[in-house]
């Protein structure tokens, strides 16, 4: 079974990639939010790297490219991707929350809260158990009528199945936004 710490790192690598794309497809306030998120995930990524090194492991490098779950062409696509990325990370951090090292659990707890609130910042929908299977925001009631929503055929799948995944083959088009 894959190490939850390694899985969380992989998810953060994917998030950094995704936010590169998201930043490229947005402007104005959304762009600022994307940049802030990008920085936050880079910081978490570095923290996870350090934790892995500290435990005597070797942190994995990011994949050369990532498969996005759908084509990101518009700002609304970008928002949808950001929501998915954050959901997927919350799931990764829940897994890490069961780690036997209490300090790792702590990191996982804080990161899960951060990702959940950041996801809410992209799309204001709340669920009772963020990151748990079957808890897609699409099926949940919306609390606040706020900004960044779009038509919601979004997440019918569970977070794990719809996230950004590594792909061994370079992906044409997806490279446009990376960096």
């Amino acid at each position: 079974m894959a190490d939850p710490l390694a899985k969380a790192l992989a998810a953060e690598h994917a998030a950094v990639y995704a936010y590169g794309v998201i930043g490229a497809k947005t402007t104005g306030k959304l762009r600022v939010k994307a940049t802030t998120s990008f920085d936050a995930h880079r910081a978490r990524r570095d923290q996870l790297r350090a934790l892995i090194v500290q435990q005597g492991g070797r942190p994995a490098e990011p994949a050369p490219t990532y498969q996005l779950p759908f084509v990101v062409a518009t700002p609304s696509d970008a928002v949808r991707l950001a929501v998915l990325v954050e959901q997927r990370l919350v799931t990764a951090y829940l897994e890490l929350a069961a780690d036997e090292d209490a300090s790792v659990r702590r990191v996982a707890a804080l990161a899960a809260q951060e990702c959940a609130t950041r996801g809410y910042g992209w799309r204001p929908e709340a669920v009772a158990f963020p990151g748990m299977p079957g808890q897609t925001a699409a099926s949940a009631p919306t609390d606040a009528g706020a900004d960044a929503s779009e038509d919601a055929d979004a997440g019918d799948g569970v977070a794990e199945t719809t996230g950004v995944t590594e792909t061994p083959v370079p992906l044409e088009g997806a490279s446009a936004g990376a960096e």
């Binding site: 702590r106 707890a109 809260q113 959940a116 609130t117 709340a126 158990f129 009631p141 609390d143």
Partner: protein
């Protein structure tokens, strides 16, 4: 699965042959359940501030009720899950402000990491998720208008 929890307060002298020491997991769950019940009661009081607000707060309260049910489910059979007398009836009298609710959510979320330190793996995961929900609540309440 640390065993280093019970901060056994050194009993003075004659402790009646203590009934089997409480499972720390049960102790933790008991306090979690109690705190969740208080949170739900607080939402009941928040809802007193107006019908619109009561409607808006409904989903929040429902999610807390879901957390409560999840905690109770982890309680081993035979343990009384809820010894506390329901505080709702008496305390429900005075309304509380959104700010107070928000503060309660913030504090609940902030306390999760510490509670997770000695929780079983399954409970630790549940607490991480519940804490994430509470953090989102704190944010969402900031957008609500009283």
């Amino acid at each position: 699965m640390a065993g280093l929890i019970v901060s056994g307060c050194t009993s003075r002298s004659e402790e009646p042959a203590a009934p089997r020491p409480k499972d720390p997991q049960v102790v933790l769950l008991t306090s979690l359940i109690e705190a969740k019940e208080q949170m739900i009661a607080l939402y009941d009081r928040g809802a007193l501030a107006g019908a619109d607000l009561a409607t808006a707060l409904g989903p929040f309260k429902q999610r807390h009720a879901a957390h409560l049910a999840a905690f109770k489910k982890l309680m081993p059979p035979g343990e009384s899950s809820s010894p506390s007398p329901s505080p709702t009836a008496s305390a429900a009298a005075s309304p509380v402000s959104l700010a107070k609710l928000r503060d309660a959510e913030r504090r609940a979320a902030a306390g999760r990491a510490k509670q997770m330190a000695h929780a079983s793996p399954a409970l630790a995961q549940l607490l991480a998720s519940v804490g994430a929900c509470e953090a989102v609540h704190a944010m969402a309440l900031g957008v609500l208008r009283g």
